[in-house]
Amino acid sequence: MRLDGQSLARANALATALRLARALVRDLGSGEVPVEALARVNALALALARADALNADRVLDLDRALGLGRGLAVALTGALNAGGAGDLERARGVAVALVGELAGVDPVACWAREVAAGGVWSIPGRVPGRLVALAVWLLPVSERSRYRAEFGADLVELPCRERLGYSVRVLGGAWELRWALRAAARTGDGAAARRAKR
């Protein structure tokens, strides 16, 4: 599969956002707010807004990244106004979280990484991402974020040609995983109840 125009533009916007967020992490780690940081945070907001505009079909879940982008702008403004080390560290923390969000959630990471590297233009996310998202949705709510991140990390590492097979097998095993997780939770609850009775 090839990236269509919209997916390509969205991937480019996300790659730009990721690059800017990483630069901000470096900027804010220096102990002061360099002038470039303001320009970067504005450019980052624009890149995220562009990615969001190109995500009208909601293929990607960008809500958290958008929230972190807004939070970063607020935190950076606070750091500039107050100038305290705590404010700066808080802003850097938001930037780190944004990098993790952009780089750590499939299929964004796959797309962004490949676009940033100028590498293969296949779509690791569209179908595999949806299959993995469906698999995660089948799991108990309390376990979803863990397995979303775990499967996402696996997908990022896999060569593009293996991602579809991986995601199909993950989806195929989702019920079994759900059953195993619920059984483990029951065992844990039972053990906790036994401990409480003692």
Binding site: A21, E162, V170
Partner: protein
């Protein structure tokens, strides 16, 4: 709590345990465990969840800065001390013919004794 329950010793479960027992203290993430056990990628997580639920496995998030590494954190798994013992015992008892395991995974067949 290891050993309080026992996972079904299916052949894939045996292969995962044998792969983990090659170096019981070594941490591996799901993709690597699947590769070490020579199981198709994406099939090991239910097995890992069962083993973790029984207390045979411990897991933790990798302690890295994703920004610096340029990749997401991995979830690392390792046999617990009791889990390694339970796994050895369970594998020794299992009825799967050793010849079958030797045929499927000759490199792992002798790795648990």
């Amino acid at each position: 709590m290891a050993g309080a329950c026992g996972p079904r010793m299916t052949l894939p479960t045996q292969l995962v345990l044998r792969a983990l027992l090659v170096e019981p203290t070594r941490e591996m993430y799901g993709l690597r465990i699947g590769q070490a056990a020579e199981l198709p990628s994406g099939t090991v997580h239910p097995i890992l969840a069962r083993l973790e639920g029984c207390g045979w496995l411990e897991s933790r998030w990798e302690d890295i800065d994703p920004a610096k590494e340029g990749r997401p954190r991995r979830r690392y798994y390792r046999l617990s001390a009791e889990g390694a013992e339970s796994a050895r015992t369970a594998l020794a008892r299992v009825h799967t013919p050793a010849a079958l395991v030797r045929m499927l995974r000759p490199d792992l067949a002798g790795g648990v004794s």
